[in-house]
């Protein structure tokens, strides 16, 4: 095939593509306009997120967490239960139970204070009075992804707290490890 034939073929293909596009736009004009609006919205959103100090990554933070502002990735640390136990034994941290009050009443980590994250809006003023800004705060919730304590950590960082730390798998990990609780203070680790 000569160069002239090749370019003619390419032109035909391009024309066919344009024709197909025109058919789609003609057949589904509102859907096509809606797609344009979505692309526009994504462009604006991406620009805003890049400029927003509390912007987040599009997938997840380097340590695998989601919903963590880029500015907090290096400041909101996570620890596992053994490390938290050391902090408890050393007495150099305040433990904050972010679960609901009824669950805190059943049992909790010894000396932990209860600030239910689901009522944060009402409790924030009191919480900031009770928790010193320069203290090491070990935050825990039920378990799993520990969304409540991570939320609390982010909020505390916004309020200029220096050392909020999230207990990674929270109460679930603590009790699975057999660590002491308010109800069973003498229970030893497995």
């Amino acid at each position: 095939m000569t160069t002239g034939e090749e370019s003619a073929g390419a032109a035909e293909q391009a024309e066919a593509r344009v024709h197909t596009m025109a058919l789609i736009v003609g057949r589904f004009p509102h859907a096509c306009r809606a797609a344009v609006l979505v692309v526009f919205a994504l462009a604006i959103g991406a620009t805003y997120n890049a400029l927003n100090p509390l912007g987040i990554r599009w997938t997840r933070s380097p340590d695998g967490r989601i919903g963590i502002p880029r500015a907090f990735e290096q400041r909101l640390h996570e620890i596992a239960a053994p490390e938290a136990l050391k902090a408890l034994e050393a007495g150099d941290a305040i433990f904050v139970d972010s679960r609901d009050e009824k669950d805190y009443r059943k049992d909790h980590i010894p000396d932990a204070v209860n600030i239910p994250m689901r009522q944060w809006a009402e409790l924030e003023a009191d919480a900031t009075k009770r928790l010193p800004r320069d203290a090491k705060l070990v935050l825990y919730c039920y378990g799993g992804a520990c969304g409540l304590s991570t939320r609390m950590g982010k909020r505390l960082l916004e309020l200029n707290y220096q050392h909020p730390i999230v207990l990674r798998r929270g109460w679930a990990e603590w009790t699975e490890a057999g660590y002491p609780t308010a109800q069973k203070p003498r229970r030893k680790p497995k």
Binding site: V36, G45, I56, G67, Q119, A121, R151
Partner: protein, 143 residues
């Protein structure tokens, strides 16, 4: 019945519906845009998306809401915006109903993600979204 049908194709009615739905969508998007991390937490709690998609959805969805709202209010490409609003409403209804059916007690994330004491996802919100869907479909189909 015929009166209702006539109302649904009435230009003034559709314009007012567009203004109202547009206003709701813009208002609903504001807090999510300001606090994408908190909205990502809410999206995560619904448990519908793979983890890798949660942040992307939390970043994109509020801007689609905002853009749709603005276009509905301006009145240009209103039918396209109606289609988008219908898609958003349907997505909200699916999210709320699956949360209810699974017994999840989670924050709705509809208008605010900052309060931490915000409205819980519930069947009444499902009904509100159904109204939103109805209005949006009318705008999309009838313009």
């Amino acid at each position: 019945m015929r009166g209702i049908r006539q109302l649904f194709v009435n230009r003034v009615f559709l314009r007012i519906a567009g203004l109202m739905i547009g206003g709701v969508l813009i208002y609903a998007s504001l807090d999510k845009i300001l606090h994408p991390d908190r909205f990502a937490d809410v999206v995560h709690e619904y448990g519908m998306l793979p983890l890798l998609a949660v942040n992307s959805f939390a970043l994109a969805m509020p801007w689609v809401e905002m853009t749709t709202g603005i276009v509905l209010i301006i009145g240009v490409w209103r039918r396209a915006a109606g289609l988008l609003a219908a898609a958003l409403s349907a997505a909200f209804m699916i999210a709320i109903s699956q949360a209810q059916l699974r017994g999840l007690q989670i924050e709705c994330g509809c208008f605010t993600v900052s309060g931490m004491s915000a409205t819980e996802a519930s069947w009444s919100l499902f009904g509100r979204d159904a109204l939103l869907l109805l209005g949006s479909v009318l705008i999309w189909r009838r313009g």
